[in-house]
């Protein structure tokens, strides 16, 4: 099955009298002059059939418009044989009812119904007379309910002095109940993930709330408000456009009729792949186990940049810690709630992952590539790693020990403390080169809080870039540099921050040349080559020319800046990298996915990240973007959760 190319908009006009009429238009501007507040719209992409050579119009007289799904478009091939009349057509939509079929014959309509029932595909049918909707009906609604989830939500109580917490809690319960009920009609795996998310979110919120410390209910409110924002959008986008379609409106207005369920499902599948591979590797937990490594020789190697820094260390961890299972009891990972957002763009929080709305029309272009999700997921890992390594500013004992360490008043008692010293020392070095605070030779605990407060964000960002480069881009600057510079073109007002972005790129690529005797020069050359490639081929890129000029003009200053951050690169490369985990995240048995764009044949996608990498280019194409999202949504199978011998067993 193949998409014809080019999209149109299906408009449902609703008059004040209740009369309804459908229209298919090339663009929104054609219908806006006569728009009213009840009208709804969604884009459709025509499937290539014998009929699609002639232009489409709603035939006068009786006809039927079917909405079916969720269905893998490759499976829909056989239903297209029902299309006999010259006006019959089929389209794909972004909604969970992703197959839309128009037929003018009763035989065709019965055949479509038969196909849907045989395949177990849900449907809604609109009877038409010309463009007028005269009746509608749909397949039976399942009575399945997530009883366990509903029961658990009904027991949830926030007896709080702050009304904000009670309000956020009630909103959370109502939202999750709606999401759980709707998902149980579509995909039980989504319901299971919502149940998991619920137990982790509520446990975390209740822990904050019941800790008895002043101000601890504020983080609980923030957590619930964040979860509510994600759940609200997830539910509206994913489950609108389901029966009764005319009553379930999506709040993304160019998709108000059918929703964006296919895109939401695609993002969810990508997130699930990363969770089951990188997430299940439990890198932060592994790093926390370095606290048990007290071998003085190893600590000395860490502190003095010894041979240990020459290769990835993470896979040697079981050996270093005496081959005992590192992670005995693994609590389930929190499944981040995924949604699309024009405002948040690519972003992660403790409970959610968002992708920009632009992926609907442009995810086939590097500018809006879905691979940016990997950067956000890397933030989750590095943030947690740093929370193990760095002292908690709210914990006086941790702070006091860390201050002693920074002042070199005591030796690190274990490898984790040695890493803490290396990072704090890097922060102090960066501050000495470009002071943001006055840091005395003997720092106090307040100085340490100020140092971390001003430098943690930069440290995390650099480590995230290195991590993303090594794990998700195969340490290949030719892929990485053009990809990130094309995606950064979508960030508004980047100009004044360009030097920082050039430096981050250099830090990431430096990870590849770590062992080279000319590592800084090699990194500069590789970054320059990648950026010049973008400048040459992407003439509309707003920032790249200035960035290349900056790199060429300030290369010596950048080299010095890079070397100041060398330790941060080394920590990721040495302590957070493991070939077995890289393989689980990036591995695939074939060199490149040679999927033919716009074709659906149900070939399973072995690695969704490599599929995205292979099919994303400098050009943006709406039809190809729908094709990519539908392939990701329906052809990505979940990998087995990563289990590394001597870590998990």
């Amino acid at each position: 099955m193949r998409l014809k190319g080019g999209g149109s908009l299906l408009v449902l006009h609703s008059a004040a009298s209740g009369a309804k009429e459908v229209e298919l238009v090339a663009s929104l501007s054609a219908v806006l002059p006569d728009w009213n507040g009840r009208d709804r719209v969604s884009p459709l992409f025509e499937i290539d059939t014998i009929q699609s050579k002639s232009p489409f119009q709603f035939k006068p007289g009786v006809a039927f418009l079917f909405f079916m799904g969720p269905v893998n478009p490759a499976r829909a091939e056989s239903c297209l044989r029902s299309l006999k009349g010259k006006n019959d057509r089929a389209w794909l939509s972004f909604g969970l009812f992703n197959l839309v079929v128009y037929t003018t014959s009763r035989v065709g309509y019965r055949s479509l119904l038969g196909w849907a029932e045989q395949q177990g595909v849900r449907w809604e049918k609109w009877d038409l007379h010309g463009p007028k909707v005269t009746a509608d009906s749909h397949s039976p609604v399942t009575s399945a309910k997530p009883s366990g989830l509903l029961e658990s939500l009904s027991r949830l109580r926030f007896h709080a002095p702050l009304p904000e917490l009670r309000d956020a809690g009630e909103e959370y319960c109502a939202l999750l109940a709606a999401a759980g009920c709707r998902s149980s009609e579509v995909d039980s795996q989504i319901t299971t993930e919502l149940e998991q998310a619920n137990s982790i979110i509520t446990e975390s919120a209740l822990n904050h709330f019941s800790s008895g410390k002043n101000g601890r209910d504020l983080p609980a409110i923030a957590l619930l408000v964040d979860a509510n924002a994600a759940l609200s959008r997830f539910t509206s986008q994913m489950f609108s456009g389901m029966p009764p379609i005319q009553e379930t409106e999506c709040h993304f207005w160019t998709h108000s009729l059918l929703g964006t369920g296919v895109a939401n499902l695609a993002v969810l599948k990508v997130r699930r792949f990363i969770t089951l591979t990188l997430g299940e590797a439990r890198i932060p937990d592994q790093i926390s186990a370095l606290e048990d490594v007290t071998d003085e020789a190893l600590i000395k190697e860490v502190l003095e940049d010894g041979h240990l820094w020459n290769g990835p260390l993470l896979q040697r961890l079981p050996e270093i810690t005496g081959r005992k299972p590192l992670l005995r009891e693994l609590p389930p990972l929190a499944p981040l709630i995924t949604y699309l957002s024009g405002r948040d763009g690519y972003h992660t929080t403790q409970t959610s992952l968002s992708a920009p709305l632009n992926i609907l029309t442009s995810c086939s272009s590097l500018r809006w590539s879905l691979l940016t999700i990997t950067h956000e997921m890397s933030h989750r890992v590095i943030d947690e790693v740093l929370s193990y390594i760095l002292p908690d500013p709210g914990e006086p004992t941790e702070l006091s020990k860390a201050t002693d360490l920074l002042n070199e008043g005591r030796k690190p008692p274990n490898v984790l403390a040695a890493l803490q010293f290396k990072i704090l020392h890097s922060m102090a070095t960066l501050n000495a080169a470009a002071p943001l605070i006055a840091l005395p030779d003997v720092a106090s605990e307040q100085d340490l809080i100020a140092l971390m407060g001003t430098r943690r964000e930069e440290v995390e960002e650099i480590m995230v870039h290195v991590f993303d480069f090594l794990y998700f881009y195969g340490a290949d600057p030719e892929v990485y540099v053009p990809a990130i510079w094309r995606s950064w073109d979508a960030i508004p007002s980047l100009h004044r921050r360009l030097p920082g972005y050039v430096l981050r790129t250099l830090c990431a690529v430096y990870g590849k040349f770590w062992l080279s005797s000319t590592s800084a020069q090699d990194a500069l050359a590789a970054v320059r080559a990648g950026m010049e490639e973008v400048a040459k081929t992407d003439r509309t890129n707003v920032y790249i020319h200035d960035a290349v000029n900056f790199l060429n003009k300030e290369s010596e200053a950048l080299r010095k800046q890079l070397l100041l951050r060398r330790t941060l690169v080394g920590i990721v490369r040495t302590f957070l990298q493991s070939p077995a985990i890289v393989q689980s995240v990036r591995g695939q048995s074939t060199k490149a996915d040679r999927s033919r764009a716009n074709y659906f044949d149900a070939t399973p996608i072995e690695n969704p990240l490599r599929f995205i990498e292979s099919n994303t280019s400098a050009q943006s194409n709406a039809t190809k973007s729908l094709w990519m999202l539908a392939r990701l949504a329906f052809d990505t199978s979940d990998p087995d959760p990563l289990r590394v011998k001597d870590i998990h067993q």
Binding site: S589, T603, K645
Partner: protein
């Protein structure tokens, strides 16, 4: 004396292939059906890329085709001939989807290794331990028998673990699961092709084996047939039996 055949396992819609193949004009000769296998002459004017042919066109290649339900096997002396036939002749004639089977080679290798490890680690006290299953757990009862009569003899894998420093590894031997170098490489590779050996014993009872079939992730099949008609017929049957078993075990998608 033997012949090597290679080609692809393809999926389509049920009955779509049965009607498509007789319409193909470049397939000539009376199809000779032996146990469901049809031997055709595939006559082409063009030189098939990377296939050396002597003399002037037209060029004649032999194709062995077997279809049933939604499945098609196309074999020839070189897989490129099959590729050419599928893309240039079969696909344009078939109105429906046509795709090479996705063979879960990596999962198959892993499952065979896990089964061997289970057997090797079995102790009298572990008699009630449940052996590992294939992908399709419903066929778990047949899995021990399969592993008793087959082993792995070939594995070709890609690795993405070392940032391009190492990209491909190939293993070949009589019994790879017994080799620790092979099994310890598993976390850093993904298998693309594998070879299944059928275990035998000679007339004196000494154990031996021969390679029955090589499989590739993208539906690739390759095997050697004896020259004698009877031997050839037997080998085709064995290969079909193996493919049917792998399908039941859930390794063919």
């Amino acid at each position: 004396m033997s012949d090597k055949l290679s080609g692809f396992l393809i999926w389509s819609e049920p009955s779509a292939l049965r009607s498509a193949i007789p319409r193909l004009k470049r397939l000539s000769g009376e199809p000779e059906a032996v146990d469901g296998w049809h031997k055709y002459e595939y006559v082409v004017e063009e030189q098939i890329p990377r296939i050396d042919m002597q003399g002037a066109p037209p060029f004649t290649h032999q194709l062995f085709i077997r279809w049933g339900g939604d499945r098609l096997i196309v074999l020839s002396n070189h897989y490129r001939i099959c590729d050419h036939f599928i893309d240039q002749d079969l696909r344009p004639t078939t109105a429906t989807f046509l795709r090479k089977a996705d063979i879960a080679v990596h999962e198959l290798v892993l499952a065979m290794i896990q089964f061997r490890e289970f057997v090797d680690n079995s102790r009298p006290t572990m008699d009630d331990a449940i052996p590992p299953s294939p992908l399709n757990a419903e066929a778990a009862a047949e899995w021990p028998t399969f592993n008793t009569s087959h082993t792995l003899g070939y594995g070709s894998a890609r690795t993405d673990a070392f940032g391009g420093g190492l990209q491909r590894i190939e293993f070949e031997g009589d019994d790879l699961p017994s080799v620790s170098l092979f099994t310890t490489a598993i976390p850093v590779v993904r298998f693309r092709n594998c070879g299944i050996r059928r275990k035998t014993s000679d007339e004196k009872g000494f154990p031996g084996s021969y390679e029955l079939l090589r499989l590739g992730k993208t539906g690739f099949l390759s095997f050697v047939t004896p020259v004698s008609g009877r031997g050839q017929k037997e080998r085709f049957k064995e290969v079909e039996g193996l493919l049917r078993a792998l399908n039941r075990f859930g390794f063919i998608k």
